[in-house]
């Protein structure tokens, strides 16, 4: 630990990105690149799953390998791609947005990051001892009989990543509450920080309960207890309750940070104030709260009593209210704006349309009578990919394009970015939209073999998934071209008002030369502001700032 001194001024070396560095910007990039690496790994697994499903017979891989593939795909995409990608944005942006020089606990931050590769290597090493086959949910008793060591490695990986996630959340909350510049009160804080506050609260309250479930599962697996094993008098339903007490909020942990990203991207690229700042801020907290009391809607077919179903059905449908508030506010922000249809805004609009579908199918699934019909079918698979890919990943790409100039100091390649968007949008919808139909027809998820009548629709999904896979190439091209020969971005290429744009691109070590000054609210675009030299339009002032190198 001796060399882990808290950042000292000087130039950033490229080797810093491979060390235990405490600079929040380095850690943000470390998170982002690591999670993109695991996106690639999980993506290869997804393509293998889709290739297997191109035909009704298990001809590409054996059913056992198929089980391992979808289990690992789910686990990697959730715990090593979307959750850490959210942490990447939070680490990079929170201190910049609130005018701080770093996170509250820089060393803790670095520890949390370095737990990611450890967890990832543990998980992938489970392939050498027989990877887990019981899905990312690991329901007992199935998880107790399908390969002991693979399952145990899976548990260890999740415990490590869960701990990292908690340490990250402690850092985010402390930084947001304690390190804002003095003239930024909580209601002039960028909405991304509000989103991370809601996310962190959920992480702190729900992730530990998953740890409790995994500890008990571990005892069943390794020590012969029977907490969840019905043959020994145990109760698998208890696992489901504990598991979903985390894993439903986990959905919001995965999507709330990206709601925050959308709230930042939309006003900047439509040159309009955000519609309903407080409504968006507080609806995030409402989603957090409701997220803690909806978990049993995953268990409508687990013999839950009627009154419990009614309760969880009602609370689940209530989530649509704060979510709807956000969707309408974002649409109202776009309405009548001077839209600059660059890659960042295109992905944000793509997010709005696909996430809307994911949200609506969510309300359908909340209805117990409908859910019982489509439980564990491809309808559910379609639904959560619309939430997590159509929602989180679209917004994630939007955020990457939006902050790429800040992170690298150069502009990405716009043409390839747009090609990336078009291919992603087509590939994504082609892959996941038909799954709703398949599910309604009764095709079960998590099975390598299926009824031949579903083959043609499955082939559409598989072709879509190939387009989706290829769509990452234009993304990489756009990023690489930007890095090699992109024009210099300057401090504020988008003429945005949040504080991260007031400093150099990329920001210097410790972020700001002097404490940044709030001269406008975070979203006061196109509004006359009263500055010392009379009433100058914010847009004019932004142009002036943008011209500063």
């Amino acid at each position: 630990m001796s060399d882990a001194t808290i950042h000292h001024a000087g130039d950033r070396k490229w080797t810093d990105y491979f060390t235990f560095c405490t600079d929040h910007k380095v850690i943000g990039i470390q998170y982002l690149v690591t999670s993109f690496f695991f996106y690639f790994v999980g993506g290869v697994m997804a393509e293998m799953v889709r290739t297997e499903l191109a035909t009704p017979d298990p001809d590409f891989v054996s059913p056992e390998v198929y089980n391992q593939l979808f289990t690992m795909h789910g686990t990697i995409m959730i715990f090593l791609w979307i959750v850490p990608a959210g942490a990447a944005f939070a680490n990079y942006l929170i201190p910049l947005m609130i005018g701080a020089d770093d996170m509250a606990f820089p060393r803790l931050n670095a520890v949390a990051f370095w737990m990611q590769p450890v967890g990832g290597i543990l998980l992938i090493s489970s392939f050498f001892v027989g990877a887990p086959q019981s899905g990312w949910t690991s329901y007992p008793p199935l998880s107790l009989i399908s390969g002991k060591w693979g399952e145990e490695l899976w548990i260890l990986c999740l415990l490590i990543l869960g701990t990292a996630s908690i340490l990250g959340a402690i850092n985010f909350v402390t930084t947001i509450f304690k390190m804002r510049i003095p003239d930024m009160d909580i209601h002039s804080m960028p909405l991304f920080c509000w989103a991370m506050l809601a996310t962190s609260a959920l992480i702190l309250l729900s992730t530990p309960v998953l740890a409790a479930a995994l500890i008990l599962l571990s005892f069943d697996l390794m020590a012969g207890t029977a907490f969840f094993n019905p043959t020994g008098g145990g109760d698998p339903i208890v696992y489901q309750h504990l598991f979903w007490f985390y894993s439903h909020p986990a959905v919001y942990i995965m999507v709330l940070p990206f709601f925050g990203v959308i709230s930042e991207v939309l006003p900047v690229h439509s040159r309009k104030p955000i519609f309903g700042y407080r409504a968006i801020a507080y609806s995030g907290l409402a989603i957090s709260f409701l997220g803690l009391i909806v978990w049993a809607h995953h268990m409508f077919t687990s013999g839950t009593p009627g009154w419990l179903r009614m309760f969880f059905m009602a609370t689940t449908m209530l989530v649509a209210v704060p979510t709807g508030i956000k969707i309408f506010s974002w649409c109202a922000t776009l309405w009548g704006g001077k839209l600059q249809l660059n890659s960042a805004l295109l992905f944000a609009i793509g997010f709005l349309s696909s996430f809307l579908i994911g949200g609506l199918t969510g309300v359908m699934l909340a209805a117990a009578p409908f859910d019982i019909h489509v439980h564990d079918t491809y309808f559910v698979v379609g639904h959560f990919h619309y939430v997590l890919f159509g929602g989180s990943v679209f917004a994630l790409f939007s955020g990457v394009y939006h902050w790429y100039p800040k992170m690298t100091g150069k502009m990405y390649d716009e043409t390839w970015g747009k090609i990336h968007f078009v291919m992603t949008f087509i590939g994504f919808n082609l892959t996941f939209l038909p799954m709703h139909y398949l599910g309604m027809q009764g095709m079960n998820r998590r099975v390598a073999l299926y009824d031949p009548q579903y083959q043609s629709v499955n082939q559409i999904c598989t072709i879509g998934s190939y387009i989706l896979a290829v769509s990452t190439l234009p993304f990489l091209v756009s990023m690489a071209l930007g890095f090699i020969k992109g024009e210099a971005a300057g401090r504020n290429p988008w003429r945005a008002l949040t504080l991260e744009w007031q400093t150099t691109s990329p920001p210097q070590i410790e972020n700001f030369e002097e404490m940044p000054v709030l001269w406008a609210g975070p979203y006061d675009y196109g509004i006359d502001s009263e500055s010392e030299d009379g009433d100058e339009d914010v847009e004019d002032m932004l142009t002036e700032v943008a011209n500063v190198a």
Binding site: T174, P208, F219, A223, D235, L242
Partner: protein, 200 residues
Amino acid sequence: MQSSATTNTAIAAGYQEAATEHHGHPDYRMFGLVMFLIAESMIFMGLFAAFVIYKVTIPDFTKELELLIPTVNSIILVSSSFVMHKGQSAIKNDDVKGLQLWFGITALMGAIFLGGQVFEYAHMEFGLTEHMFGSCFYVLTGFHGLHVTAGLLFTLAVLWRSREANHYSSSNHFGVEAAELYWHFVDVVWLVLFVLVYLL
């Protein structure tokens, strides 16, 4: 927490300081520790919830437990919290000897608690896998015992560091406060556990 006005000024003052000097950050560690303990308490909540579900749904779940040692243990652990607080009061008066005395006694009491638990395990009629109550008993008390061990190590670490003159003083003793808060946390969890597992 003071009133919000004072807190705001404190933040403002702290920031000014931080802008000029890196290591002059105001201390946020207690804030962070409290959040960590909230997360920790949720693990116990999960385990307790599972215990209660089993207790309510499984017929003949509860087994009689010998109460003498755990009751003595509870008294020792609860009183050690007060003993420890004396140590914190001592360091607030720059009395390092007092800190060492009271923290030393606390560590001893913690060790006696753990010894009592080991004794209890050794004389228990059932093992880990015989019935659900036994499994719950060992996992809950064991997981709590791990926390007592962590708290004990924490206390010993404070004692070790206090050998160095001026390591802790009335103005700088976060380690002392953190060890104490952690110990109180472990103590409160034990009370809930004692009522749930032994008494009900």
